[in-house]
């Protein structure tokens, strides 16, 4: 096990500051968290011990990407979609409630020196994962284009947030066909032709990943993807969360929670 893969993480008690609906499907959870869990990196995640909603008993923790973190303010944020028992439990939290969090976990995004023009392409909850990356890009003075894909224009979250981080935001959606693979391909090719793209970042859609893999290979543009898998432990012990990856000619299994959730785009196998 390479020393680089070891991360400091802790099980800690956070206090809910706010837990508000963002649009019909998503909620933003803002926590006051202790310093021991706030040495975060964009792309990392937490394992949340969700409270039990009426009549349901989620047992395992639920993985959630870090949407926002601020060590000085002692602040930690998650953007989540209510999907099942665990997230229904999260939705019951009110300000002042305690929440047991475990993190930060996994390997975050990397940003090589030479990558000046970044393009971020995300759909749905994938935007949550990429939000802290946008902030880091701004801090490091990179130019960022964020393509946000959604079912409807009004469901594209975080547009303002990405803009506030200085990104150029392009919203594409299903209703006007702008989110179709063909339309997106044309859009990205045009961008590459125009100003150049040094690296891609993506999350939340296999279709988007496949498109970026193709374009990346064609133009020699590197990239990273944040992946998901059913998890149990979240820290590397149980081998639940494996996915196959290309490693040269070989096909290897990697743990999303430990070697990931961020992986080199070209190595991901769908």
């Amino acid at each position: 096990m390479p020393a680089g893969l070891r991360a400091r993480c802790a099980e800690a008690r956070a206090i809910v500051r706010a837990n508000t609906p963002v649009n019909g499907e998503y909620r933003l959870l803002t926590l006051d968290a202790p310093a021991e869990v706030l040495d975060c990196h964009p792309g990392q995640f937490f394992q949340l011990l969700c409270p039990e909603p009426e009549g349901e008993h989620p047992y395992l923790r639920r993985p959630m990407s870090i949407y926002g973190y601020d060590a000085e303010a002692g602040r930690l944020q998650f953007l989540y979609k209510v999907a099942g028992a665990g997230t229904r439990g999260l939705a019951t939290l009110v300000p002042g409630d305690a929440l047991n969090v475990l993190g930060p976990l996994g390997q975050g995004f990397t940003m090589e020196e030479g990558w000046r023009n970044l393009m971020l392409v995300a759909r749905g909850v994938g935007l949550a994962t990429l939000a802290p990356l946008a902030r880091m890009a701004q801090q490091e003075g990179r130019r960022l284009t964020a393509v946000c894909s959604a079912r409807r224009a009004d469901l594209a979250m975080s547009v303002d947030l990405f803009r506030s981080f200085g990104a150029e935001v392009i919203v594409v959606h299903d209703e006007d066909g702008s989110s179709s693979p063909e339309a997106l391909e044309a859009l990205i090719r045009a961008r590459i032709a125009a100003g150049g793209v040094d690296a891609f970042y993506t999350c939340g859609s296999s279709r988007l990943l496949r498109l970026l893999q193709t374009l990346g290979a064609e133009y020699g543009i590197p990239g990273e993807v944040a992946m998901e898998q059913q998890m149990a432990c979240g820290i590397g012990m149980c081998q639940a969360c494996v996915r196959p990856f290309r490693e040269g000619d070989r096909r290897v299994q990697r743990r999303v929670c430990r070697e990931g959730p961020v992986f080199p785009m070209a190595e991901a196998i769908l």
Partner: protein, 312 residues
Amino acid sequence: MKDIRSKADLGVTIGGLRLANPIMPASGTFSEDLSDVFDLDVLGAHVLKTIMHEKRGGNPVPRVCDLPGGMLNAIGIPSKGIDDFRDRMLPWWERYAAPLVVSISAHSVDAFARLAAEVSLPGVAAIEANISCPNIEANGNAFAMRPDTTETVMRRLRAATDLPLWAKLTPNTGEPVEVALAAESAGADALVVANTALGMSIDIAARRPRLGNVMGGMSGPAIKPIALRMTYQCAGACRIPVIGCGGIATLQDVLEFMIAGARAVQVGTATFRSPTVMARLVAELQDWADAEGVASIEEVIGTVIRPEGAGA
């Protein structure tokens, strides 16, 4: 004896092996990775994920699913093989004083015995024979489902190694006591009671099993009454020590198993809910024993009162 100023001794002896305390992880729910979270030397022993001789991939995903009070897993036994164990894992674990218990498994008696010999290396304190994993063989069958197959494999393992040898039993049998006695008579030094119970869950919207492998092992608090019952049965029938395992998550659970007859306990799924749980259990057990004025935790073992006239 009852001196509340002195610290209770949490040490227990398991078939010749002395543990500083009776709390250890269950195989497959523990790895180097947990050293990120707490100092693993607070544990009574370290039990590794089952290894097999050859490199193998494990089961299709999803490999786990959540249940009320626990989970199902069909991880299989993805294994990096014996070479990786010898060359990489074993040296890594040398940093700790806690005894290292290596869990092994195989698909045949011969291969099992060969592997036992191969892992009998300096730095290994005991071998746990996973003769009960319900996922490796078709239809969830395993050696530990029957006394005869248990006896055969344990006898061969006994001949293959001089290390303390533990047999890990399964709840998926109608004859747990006969299986335990077979392991004992074949020379096992201790019994781990027990592995997961074979279960299933279906996603009704998709009409698909929620595990890639269809069926899998159920673990966590939901199986505790079954594992506790087997612990009581086996501890009552055998002279070798029993290590309780199944659904243990709280100090109450630890005490319940020890009172039923377990000399030590393994904690599995609870670590997924709270990675620090084992460290907490060691501290809570110390506090409890100190407060109760127990000189040695071994005093507690098997103290359950059997009501008169009870049927079983």
